[in-house]
Amino acid sequence: MTSQARVFPDRIFHRASDAFSASLHACLRGVRAPVRVLCVGMLGFAITSMAGAEELPAPSNLESAKSDLLQLDRTIASLKQRLTLPARTLLLFGLTPQSQLSVRSIAVRLDGRSLPVREYDAQALNALLQGGMDTLMDANLPVGDHILEVLVTLSDKAPVSQRIEFTKTLAKDIVAIKFKEHPGLDEQPLAVVEWSQHD
């Protein structure tokens, strides 16, 4: 297996020109010019086409190392969680399905502590609209009562702010703030969902 596994999606049909150059050579083989100079171009083609015939040192095969790198990522993440995040809470932010909200940023305070403000450019907003969830925090949070103060700014609407009191029930969990575009009656636009998290 060769190691030249890089993908050039936009060049895929340059390989299709195999047929082109092969046929060119086929055509040129039939062309025998009356003067020597006319054969020079053919020589050029022939030399180029023979380039692969020479035995040259092969590039490395990175497949195994690349696979090991993924393994490292998983192992280190797992060790990190076991050793440093015994009460891990992953705080996410996302939109409800089919949402068309134009979110610009989200600022969150958790128990009075400010988390880094998350700004969303066009690409990040698209990722949210496609169902993606952004990570706001990945840290230890003790089981018990907590207060989230959230401010969401939007491009075309007034900012939305909400204070959410919640109780963390599981030692390791995922908490997501979900922005509902059309909240029901007596519903707040921001809702919190909790999932249990495994190692």
């Binding site: 936009d10 009356p34 020589l43 590039p59 993924l70 993440a77 060790l79 990722a127 939305v160 249990s196």
Partner: protein, 581 residues
């Protein structure tokens, strides 16, 4: 009431603290929060769910749609619960990420896991085709052929066209041109560009040496060769005039029979008529595409029934123009082979002057005129060519042909042209020699800086500006050189990731005193793995550098040999011209 009061006091305290913070954003936050606090807020009940696949997949999607593909892959792998995604969509998605990362074995395993699951064609087919492309581009011809010959159902017209082009290219490449011809002859796609490309490839396959039946006697083979050449010329001629076979209506809806059904229902256009037409479509038909099941909402369905063309918005005018140039140039070569110089010249007019193939077109035109004895026109074309980048071998040959045309025209300036050509060849040789010497100090990553932070998404390396641009441009046209440069760039990004992992591991190792023996063992094993990967990348770096230099030097050697040849010819020409004087 007391609680509420407490809560309000807390809010005010927060607000005061907020207002005390210097940043403008904090001020906005504080004011907005303050405003909202005046109106509402009660505690939000927490909704608890067990299935953590939703947030896991949502995190992957967030990375994926931001083009952070490496992060998407690692996040996916970190969320083990996604592996139990019943419909197989997760496996298909994972296969796609593995393919783009460049791990074909893992990609295939994920695809296989998803094979027996119920995955929609829109989710399945793109990753399926991407994996096929990966095998195709890695030069694993037999694997790629076997894979691509067994397509899933409901490929879109574009996917089916790409698959077909790859399959027939593979067949031609593996000396099965006759099979390629057979497939291409019956191939119809509703996308006009691919219809044209398929016809062009059919012409190219007909020209392949393997197209002729080698079991025939020599005279019969010659006759077949002539016939195939004639067919190729006719196809290319038609393509030059944009004559592409129309898409015929491949599914003919049968009229609903007026006779009563056994149940006595007429069912005119009712659900049974749909059932009948579906049954008809599943009957085996001649063409590959006709054998495909037709699904709802597919662009193919609409097109197949209406026999209409389907636009492919991903195609640019440049793609169409490049294909037209190739068609024109191929036809010209074919005409030239059959000594039909006039028609060759006509065909060459179809190549755009600013296209990538224009140097070939100019040189061929100069050759055609030369062979027709029209030395003045031959000189004009060769001279036009010689004004272009001399690093291109075609331009170098143009210098020689221009001088030769002048010589045969008995033009007094022939000697000067030969002398100029000699200077060009000497300068080119000197430049190549200098380039070769400089290679020892080549810093690949400084010459081709990495412009992406994601090891999965690497663009095509740009030709570096400066005096060596011409030489680099020629080198980058070779896929071997390009692939190694990209691999070096990817290694650089992977090493950057490795540094981050190393730092994280050091932080964890610092906790050694607090961890239990099992965790200590895990830490040690991780360190061993990290050191191994580090060493692997270092070795790969050296090996790739060596391979790159070898590829470049092999190309330079060929260039030198060609220049030596041109130089000899030019010196001989100069001698002849001076002798005649």
């Amino acid at each position: 009431m007391i609680n509420r009061e407490k809560s309000h006091r807390y809010k005010l305290k927060q607000l005061t603290r907020l207002l005390g913070i210097q940043s403008a954003w904090s001020l906005t936050f504080g004011l907005a929060l303050g405003a909202s606090l005046c109106t509402s807020v009660s505690a939000t009940p927490l909704e608890v769910r067990r299935d953590a696949r939703e947030p896991g997949f949502a995190q992957v999607m967030y990375d994926y749609y931001q083009n952070h593909l490496y992060d998407a892959l690692t996040t996916f792998l970190a969320n083990r619960q996604l592996a139990f995604n019943a419909p197989g969509t997760g496996d298909i998605f994972l296969s796609n990420l593995y393919t783009r990362y460049g791990l074909p074995r893992e990609a295939e395993a994920s695809l296989s896991r998803a094979a027996l699951t119920d995955v929609t064609s829109s989710n399945r087919n793109d990753p399926w085709l991407s994996y096929g492309k990966l095998l195709y581009q890695m030069g694993q011809d037999s694997l790629a052929l076997n894979f691509l010959r067994d397509p899933p159902a409901l490929l879109t017209p574009k996917q089916e066209s790409e698959r077909m082009i790859m399959v027939t290219n593979l067949l031609t490449r593996t000396e099965h041109a006759r099979d390629a011809i057979e497939s291409l002859q019956s191939f119809r796609t509703p996308i006009p560009y691919y219809r044209k490309l398929a016809r062009y490839n059919l012409a190219m396959s007909l020209l392949s040496p393997d197209a002729v039946d080698h079991l025939l006697s020599q005279p019969e083979q010659d006759a077949q060769r002539e016939e195939y050449d004639g067919r190729a010329i006719r196809i290319l001629d038609d393509l030059m005039q944009d004559k592409v076979p129309n898409l015929v209506m491949i599914i003919k809806p049968k009229p609903v029979l007026a006779t009563a059904s056994p149940t006595g229902n007429q069912n005119k256009g009712g659900w049974l008529s749909w059932f009948r037409s579906k049954s008809d479509s599943s009957q085996p038909l001649g063409s590959l595409i006709e054998n495909r099941e037709i699904g709802n909402k597919s662009t193919f369905t609409v097109s197949a029934l209406s026999a209409g063309d389907v636009d492919d918005p991903t195609l640019t005018p440049d793609d169409v123009s490049k294909l037209n140039d190739k068609i024109a140039l191929s036809l010209a070569y074919l005409r030239l082979k059959h000594h039909d110089l006039e028609q060759a010249r006509v065909a060459l007019r179809g190549v755009k002057l600013d296209s990538l193939l224009s140097n070939q077109a100019l040189l061929t035109s100069a050759h055609v005129y030369y062979r027709q004895g029209d030395f003045v026109r031959s000189y004009n074309f060769a001279n036009e060519l010689s004004k272009r980048n001399w690093a291109d071998p075609l331009v170098q040959e143009g210098w020689l042909l221009a001088a030769r045309a002048l010589e045969d025209e008995h033009d007094g300036s022939a000697a000067d042209h030969y002398a100029a050509a000699i200077q060009v060849y000497k300068a080119a040789t000197a430049s190549i020699n200098q380039f070769d010497r400089d290679l020892d100090n080549l810093d690949v990553l400084a010459t081709f800086p990495v412009k992406s932070a994601d090891p999965v998404l690497l663009g095509i390396p740009e030709v570096p500006a400066g005096t060596k641009a011409g030489l680099w441009a020629g080198l980058l046209e070779r896929s071997e050189v390009l692939a190694i440069i990209q691999q070096i760039q990817q290694t650089q990004l992977l090493q950057a990731k490795l540094k981050v992992y190393d730092k994280d591991l050091q932080d964890l190792e610092a906790l050694k005193a607090k961890v239990n023996p099992d965790e200590l063992d895990d830490l040690k094993a991780t360190r061993v793995l990290l050191d191994k990967v580090k060493l692997d990348f270092q070795k790969a770096e050296l090996q790739d550098h060596k391979a790159l230099l070898a590829q470049i030097r092999a190309t330079l050697k060929q260039s030198r040999e060609r220049l030596d040849y041109y130089l000899t010819e030019a010196l001989l020409g100069l001698q002849r011209v001076n002798g005649k004087r």
